[in-house]
Amino acid sequence: MSTHTDPVTRSLESYRADFPALHQTHPNGNPVVYLDSGASAQKPECVIEAVSRCYSEYYANAYRGVYYFGARVDEELENAREQVRNLLNAKAVHEIVFTAGTTMSINMVAQGWGRKSLSPGDEILLNVLEHHANLVPWQMIAQETGAVLKYLPLTSDGQLDIEQLPEYLSEKTRLMAVTGMSNVLGTLPDLKSIISTCHQNNTLVLVDGAQLVPHTEVDVINLDIDFLTFSGHKLYGPSGVGVLYGKEALLEAMDPMLGGGHMIDQVFHDHSTWAELPAKFEAGTLPIAPIIGLGKAIEYIQNIGLQRIEAHERSLLEYAHETLTKLPGLKILGPALNEKGAIASFTIEGLHPHDIADWLDRAGVAVRAGHHCTMPLHEHLGIHASTRASFGLYNNNSDIDALCEGLEYALKKHKLI
């Protein structure tokens, strides 16, 4: 397969060939145009092969088998953990915890850290850009502990109003949970400045990196991130695996959310003691093959280079903004081009997002329609739903042309042009 070619000799456009799903045909005969990577990315052949090899060549449970297969699985899992550490530039490999996904990672912090650290009246700072996965776990722990949720306002163009951040931080603000990149507006909060302001106030910061990590280099040491969460499936890896990064001291102080096998040091009749990091947070059997697939996906994108991916997606976004805004009644949501990542969410006057997505599907174009798990954001924007085109490393300008042609067709069918 072409993935083994020296990356220096390959143009970015050629990587599309590595994704078998993108060469499929829609049942109605149209080629598939995939513009929903923000929901989940397609997988390159090398990831599919790595998962398949795990099952066909050496599969066993992890950290238990005193035999060849078991040892091989352990080795592959730890290789993947090192890949993640390297991707994030984390200090130690035991600061990388494998989870089921971003949602589970955030819940683990909300419960494991929150239950122990939050007292009635303590504050957690949120904002309406957040995905439900970075809102609901905090609502749950706030209800349980008596902590209070506060919301940092947005500017009129959908950015976090960080000028107001100092006013929203009090001596009771224990943690700010913030997205690295909005899954609807593409907004890129200034993490460096937010984290520095929060740390001056002794406020911890959890960054939901589900959207950010697949598109740009994230250096947890340089940004001084306390907790970072992301999912494998948006990073061209399998679903069912995610990551929780936490600074060692914070993970040490945190309680595990799940109890069970592998996470213990000793088990007595009435209590147990916890294993060392990261095992303390990895109860039960890990998603073995997905983790191995994630390691391969990270190797794949690092071979291409995240900076190249980012530049390619930026040019796609520029082309998308240029062409989409020519359509009558179409409004792109969120900040200006230079303030956002590779997502274009929009509304079209007179056309419901589900109807738009239906017409696009008939043209073979896959987009997301709905509230994208951000009901408070849509309420803030004064709309019920939106349509989202999100880009991955494999997209090209023809995909965006197909999107615009599909939209024009929908406008014609609804007699809007």
Binding site: N28, G29, H352, P353, H354, D355, D358, R362, A369, G370, H371, M375, H378, H384, A385, K413, H414
Partner: protein, 135 residues
């Protein structure tokens, strides 16, 4: 169904109900009413029924916001249920509602197409529950 057949049905059947719906208005003399929201997209449908003698639906009105499928479905539903008795409507199935819509729908879009139907079923069920409590 071919793409052309689908589009023909959509234009001849769905769009007319969406653009010029049957009984899309709010009334203030309903015997009973109920609203539901599709949590996936925020589409809403409110159904208001005027139930007369012999438990017959004399008038059915709807209001709401949403995609062509959910709103056209509610319009077809109102047209369909007028003149029927409550016990006849208890027999009315999701399959029959989807047949009314005529266009094939994926599982996700069936939730749009069945939104009005779900409101009707909840409405009938709560009337039954109230009657049971009254007894």
């Amino acid at each position: 169904m071919s793409s052309d057949q689908y589009e023909e049905l959509y234009e001849d059947h769905i769009l007319p109900h969406f653009e010029d719906p049957y009984h899309k208005q709010e009334i203030d003399c309903a015997s009973c009413q109920h609203s539901e929201r599709n949590p996936l997209c925020g589409d809403t449908v409110t159904l208001q029924l005027m139930i007369g003698e012999n438990e017959t639906i004399e008038k059915a009105y709807f209001s709401g916001n949403g995609c062509a499928i959910s709103q056209a479905g509610a319009s077809m539903l109102c047209e369909q249920i007028e003149g029927k008795t409550v016990s006849e409507l208890e027999e009315f199935s999701a399959e029959e509602m989807l047949e009314l819509l005529k266009v094939p729908l994926t599982a996700t879009r069936q939730r749009c197409g069945l939104l009005g139907f779900k409101v009707l079923k909840t409405l009938l069920y709560s009337r039954d529950a109230e009657a049971a409590i009254a007894e």
